[in-house]
Amino acid sequence: MTRHTDLGPGRDPQAGLHQAMAALSAAPPGGRGVTSDLSIDETLLLHSVGWEPVDLVFGVSWWSIPWGAWQWQTGEIAEASSAFAGAFAEAAQQMREECAQAGGSGVVGVEIEMRVAAHHISIELTGTAVRRVDHHQAGFEFISDLSARDFALLTRAGWWPLSLVVGASFVVAPRRTARQWAAQQGQNTELPHLTEALYLAREGAMARMQRAGSDAGADGVIGVRLREGPLGHSARIMQFVAVGTAVHLAAGSHRPIAPTMAVPLDDAERTFEAASLRSSR
């Protein structure tokens, strides 16, 4: 879905430009400057729902995983899962504190960078703290990886982001016994123990994310991405990480947005598409 904003007839862009040039010769306003990584579209959309950026905020946490955690077991690696949870919670907490310190009520467009190395897990969050234009403060309200555009759209429909929620699980793929291997060789057949191990790991990651959502009092978690794959330092160890934004219905009921169909006349489309979200994340 894209949105079209016709800034309307009767505006004179050149007059605006002249005004802008004149402003450049004036003295800078002084005080503490706002910093933001939002685009102009995002800034405008955010403003249209009554919010403005305050400051770039961060949350970083590195957690250690002891040597041996990966080597001496099969099945789920509890140390890694708990290090992940600990690092994420700490990074999110720091981001909340930075947001509160900057006078923001929430953080939008949080970028999440996570790395799992042999002996540590790092979580690095970057986002823009925002506050209400009318400066009405209701304390800390949300952290969300939704873009400012998604935030504006969602709040129009009566929904509200609450927090980032994650769940991770790390498993060692079980080895096949010699007998299993021999029996399956040359056959086209399902491998139940492997299927089960991976299935359970995925369910485990989802279940943890869900629980985080429940704890936040969410009505739902949207934009869930399941990242999975072998770890760099060991092909037998697979990580499953589910990340999403917990949301709740703040208005009494869902407000329809009533979109219309449109045929674009652009040749080269350089617009936002939902599909691009999926592949890029």
Binding site: M21, A22, A26, P29, I40, H47, L56, V60, P66, H120
Partner: protein, 334 residues
Amino acid sequence: MTTPESAAGEGNLSEGPNETAEPDGGVPDGGVPDEVLPEAAARRLGHGAWSSALSVPDLATSLALGFEPAGYVQGFSVRQWRWIGYYGAGFSPAAGMGAMVGPRVGPGEYSEGWRCPHGFVAGEHRVYGYNFEQAWVERSWAEAWGAAYTRMIEEAEALGAHGVIGVTDDMHYLAGTGAAEFSIRGTAVVVPGAPRPSPPFSTFLAGQRLAKLIEAGYAPVGVVAALSSVQMFGYCITRLQLSGSGAGTWSGGAPGVGAIVQVGKAQRAARHLAREHLRRQLGGDALHGATVTEFEQEIGEGDLAVHCTIKGTRVRRFKDFDPLPEPEPVVRLR
């Protein structure tokens, strides 16, 4: 830990690139004294037709907005370059047990120390650990970036331009020389009939994003950028954690699974320093469309260097937001 505000003391980046671009800024620090353009630039710019790096849609939007391209402008600065080193007297990172005297930092610069809780001393046991800001790296980065920026702006001024749009910047190493080249380029534009700001403005934006920015009531003041550099010498606990041997009887207090405090603090300090260095160039204006890049280097077992850059366009509000018309949601049929 030193707070970002208190770290924002004297002697860091007060001579950052955009300060020099202020009307009263004067001659840039670290730049070559070029009242006149480099000869090659003068020759190129003296040539009749304008050149521009803008795409056709960006050019069309810029023309519609009232900009006229004046020429492609650029500035360069080549520097001897290294990211780590210089610790000050009394400190040697090579010392096995770590140094009791920390690396020297200037007033107001970030530094933080840790001491081993074990109470035992052995050859390879790092008793002391330090996080510290490498202000000399930050300063030389700001000088190089500022020099390239100033040269670009001087080309724009020579063209009688009001500003430079669609700015791009780059830093790359010159192979085999130990040097790095900083470059900044953009398209100089004129706004016929409008007062000319001095120095000219600049922005990373072009085309309709720039049009929307101005329509929304923001004037682009200039592109701004800052780098922070924090080095970390891990003390024993940090080293144990990073090597995975945190759990064990002799590690005395290093938990098997737990926060690696010293690294976390170095990482956060780097981000906060970059943000505050940059904020000091804003003069109360806003930073728009920032990009944050962080990179770390392992410089030995358990030792790290963390660098963070933030850049974006400094913008000034010149009129209030007009209320945005309600955007109309559509589904496109592709």
